[in-house]
Assembly symmetry: none
Homo-oligomer: 269 residues x 2
DNA sequence: TCACAAACGATCAATATCGATCATATTGCA
DNA sequence: TGCAATATGATCGATATTGATCGTTTGTGA
């Protein structure tokens, strides 16, 4: 077996399992301990993995970020106050007992903070949202079935026949990557899939976007403006953008980030 | 077992419940007390956990007492060592890459500890199992859709058309409330529903029950003995019970008790 | 307070892993 | 083919990790 091939095998093994032993690699490649050690040493200086006594481990230092405690950690702090304010307005649209759908996303995730005292049937495809609601609220939580995609933090089934089709709600809440005259835009094909499944399962589609999203474009269009019932954004929205929504018959709610944000911060602490 | 792997297991265990004992880690990793103490000491200086007399505790002070903090809190400590030993045998049946189904339950939950280093497609209807696997392993996690029942800690859909039907596995693992000549017995109608959905989605049905379950009866029969491929239990099983399984053509695996368990038994005697 | 058991820390022997060296095999090239 | 360069495998002393066994400390309950 050639050196390159062994390296490929070792790297693939170390990506699948967090730690591999020298012995495992010996068995896997039919080469000697010495060779494997040399390989691991070489890959170590190439920074393709980290060498540890007994074997090697994956190099990725950010191990379990993304879930639970701090979902979507990267985007989280970005415009957090604005997202908070938008999410609050979204929850205030809801009445206790009224079923809703929450699509996964960083903005919609903020809704969980305002849902703690409520009691509603909530359907979501987001693992972190479900987790938070379970632990910190008494809402009835329903989850879509399928594979959990770690990066996007959503649950998606490749099949059309999942429980999603059996849930119907008054409102569905979702974020987006962009919002323009052509409609609602998303960046990730996986998210598009997830959203398309849910979008027809509610009377009203409520879109949560901070005002910067009006100036962002993306390659994938999810639906036209006419499909949207309500847009909630912050006061950074410009007049012509508001006009565009009005023309399309979309209701607009502008969330003010007022002193209420202070409340929220202290509430969190 | 190697240092890194032990560390991963210890950290995973310490997050599952706020405090773990040295003995528990010895059982979990098959290493000596001295080694576990050294490990805990090392992780302590790395600030990955806090060392306390008797074991270690999670570093994060405000642990939410919700779902994950103490899954199935009542049953958890009951026969924990036996359940872990049984769960270990269960995981050892699995090969990397081979898809499995894990039905929710306190015994099956213990399997997560031994799955941390593995890489398999895992389908489950248990939210805590999915959560733990997501946070502490690289396995592909698939979840059934539906309502999350807090008490039973399972996800159940009233419809027959969920993704469950689209997943097929080599083995399905499940616990039970009782196991007698008539077959597998369960107490909760909700669990019966969940289990019946999954039971036909795998080649082999593997049942995890501690030996006390052979003397327990319940009103609801899930399936006959003939449907069961393998039973894993502890060495408290009696001869006639083993005979019963043998007659029915069920393979039997007896998980050996660890040294610490023997201590406990002799103490009780 | 005292006795007792559990938990701890230190030590040491056994084991596993490592690094270096050398012999052998394979490859590339003239 | 012959030769050099490189890769590989084997061996062995050095080093690190582990598990067992002390004696000591800590916590518990009579």
């Amino acid at each position: 077996m050639h050196e390159k091939e062994r390296h490929r095998i070792i790297l693939s093994a170390v990506q699948e399992k967090p730690v591999v032993t020298v012995q495992e690699m010996v068995d896997l490649t039919d080469s000697s301990e010495a060779t494997i050690r040399r390989d691991i040493a070489a890959l170590h200086v190439q920074k393709r993995l980290r060498r540890v006594r007994g074997g090697a481990e994956a190099i990725s230092p950010p191990q379990f970020i993304g879930l639970a405690g701090r979902p979507f950690s990267v985007n989280e702090t970005l415009n957090a106050a604005q997202k908070r304010a938008i999410a609050r307005e979204a929850v205030e649209l809801c009445k206790d007992g009224e079923p809703i759908i929450i699509n996964g996303g960083t903005t919609t995730f903020q809704m969980v903070h305002f849902l703690t005292g409520r009691r509603m049937p909530i359907f979501t495809n987001s693992f972190p949202i479900a987790e938070h609601l379970l632990k910190h609220s008494k809402n009835t939580v329903m989850l879509s079935g399928g594979t959990i995609y770690r990066e996007q933090n959503i649950i998606l089934s490749p099949f059309d026949n999942d429980v999603t089709r059996n849930f119907y709600a008054r409102r569905m809440f979702m974020g987006a990557q962009g919002l323009g005259p052509l409609g609602l835009m998303e960046g990730d094909p996986l998210l598009i899939q997830a959203e398309q499944k849910l979008i027809d399962q509610a009377d009203e589609l409520v879109v949560l976007v901070d005002s910067s999203k009006f100036r962002k474009r993306s390659s994938l269009i999810l639906c036209g403006l006419s499909r949207i019932a309500t847009v909630i954004t912050d006061d950074g929205i410009e007049d012509r953008e508001a006009k565009m929504l009005e023309t399309a018959g979309v209701a607009l709610i502008v969330a003010r980030k007022t002193a209420s944000n202070k409340e929220e911060s202290s509430l969190q602490a």
